[in-house]
Amino acid sequence: MRTLERPGRSYFILLSACTLLALVGVFSWYHQIREGIGVAGLNNPVKWGVYITNFVFWVGIAHSGTLISAILFLFRVRWRNTVFRSAEMMTVIAVMTAGLFPLIHLGRPWFFYWLLPYPNQMQLWPNFQSPLIWDVFAVGTYFIVSSIFLFLGLVPDLAAVRDRVAGLRRRLYSLLSLGWMGTNRQWRHYRSAYGFFAAFATPLVVSVHSVVSWDFAMSIVPGWHSTIFAPYFVAGAIHSGLAMVITILIPMRKYMDLESYITTDHLENLAKLIVLTGLIVGYSYVSEFFVAWYSENPFEQAIFSYRVWGDYALLFWFMLIFNSLLPLLFLIKGMRRGTVSLMVISILINVGMYLERLVIIVSSLAHEYEPYAWGTYKPSIFEIGITVGSLGWFLMWFLILIKLLPAVSIAEVKEILPIPGREESS
């Protein structure tokens, strides 16, 4: 309930700064719509740039919410109870942000509905063999399911808030809590529905990033056409998502005085998971290079050599260090439990994961089969504006949501508290 109290001045300053950043993105997009997609740095051969990078990055960020919420729920991991709500909020906002980028990349976003299957006089239907249509279904499903999952978990908490506020807020929370009273009947069916959501969301989360990876793997572009892309992308998504959860939880728990709920132990457990995902990501990097070398395919070998020594080599090396080597510092207990080390490493992992997507997308397109068709790519100021704007947009919605909805699950935290019994009462 503390998170819902009237915010201080610093909250409004932060919210204003994020809104301003979001407006930079809105302005840049407006400019692109007005002038045309030519204002972006996209070119021939690099037709996919930071917009698609942003899409993959934000979809990846969205994965930790479902991991913490659904997968850890199925495994009955008790430490999830205090952190899953913020991760779920992050998921919904990140998918919402990710969903904007294919539209921004379209150039003519007002025709977005062409992606949807709807009856029309010309009897045209989407090509269901295209991975881009799989994306529409996968990301759309993920957004709807994660939103309902968040809402379902919130119902008992919204009722608790409803019973403690007055006036207009009471009416709002009454509406949102659907008249929940916590009867045995309601709890029974709630638990059942929650279990089904967790069980179905788990394969969904794996499928979504697999589908995103197939946007690349289904093509014959060297560096993309790989069978390991699906597990590699899923592991990377969880890696970046966990890092983002830590990045957001540390300031949130300090600012909202939640240190007794979101403890150092919780952060340490997240850091341990990051070590695991970091090792998987590192293994994937090595596998990619091994496959390229062992296949004796000159195009594959050329692209991986280009990544290491070519135009984007600096980004590649930062990616490797930030994603695979830095997380190993969490093997040291002091690094896992120190707020500063957690914050710095988690931010660098996010930077590294962004670079990973940029390196995969841009370097492969820049250096395909024919040397006379090679090229390079540099994002324009408007692409950078939209990218920075998406970060502002994400943080703005997060700040709004944590003030409207309980950021820590009230009902589930009560589950792990000692039960009030006669022994304690006496």
Binding site: W125, F128, R164, G182, F196, A201, K414, S425
Partner: protein, 169 residues
């Protein structure tokens, strides 16, 4: 129904609340009990054993409908378009499985949510007469509709198990 009364017991003590439920269940009132609790703990499920929730039928039907919708959408629209793309068959099973899988989950879970609303009788436009805002914080309650002649015994069970207040209406 003039011979029936409603007995409400309020508890701050969770163990006493669970003990009351067990006793009332043994007395044969299990099906008529309504409890209010801010939290769902396994002790409550053990005290008032109930069969599996009906939500699962919604999940099953929703998932099957979703899968069927995915198959029909992809197959029928591809046959109507009848354009070969990428040298692949008009009805390509692997990509259609992806669409069907996503729709299975999407429609399955939307219908699961509707099932939760249906079985949980939500949205509830009016709160139960015995509901109190403390029941979403740190108190528990049990409400039982029983014959007037049973009310005294029920009251006694509630009091013996630490009810902070027992009301007969």
């Amino acid at each position: 129904m003039s011979g029936e009364v409603e007995v409400t017991g309020r508890y701050r003590d969770f163990k006493g609340f669970v003990a009351s439920l067990k006793k009332l269940h043994e007395m044969g009132f299990g099906d008529r009990l309504i409890t209010f609790s801010p939290v769902m703990r396994h002790e409550l499920e053990e005290a008032l054993p109930a069969g599996p929730s009906g939500v699962r039928y919604f999940t099953l039907i929703g998932s099957l409908l979703g899968c069927l919708a995915g198959v029909l959408l992809t197959v029928i629209t591809s046959l109507r378009m009848n354009v070969i793309t990428g040298g692949k068959p008009i009805i390509s099973v692997p990509p259609f499985v992806i669409i069907s899988f996503e729709l299975t989950i999407l429609i399955g879970l939307i219908v699961t949510f509707l099932g939760f609303l249906f079985w949980g009788r939500l949205p509830a436009l009016k709160a139960h007469e015995s509901y109190d805002r403390k029941f979403s914080e740190d108190e528990f309650a049990v409400v039982l509709s029983c014959l007037r002649e049973d009310a005294e015994e029920v009251t006694l069970v509630m009091r013996e198990n630490g009810a902070s207040e027992v009301r007969v209406e």
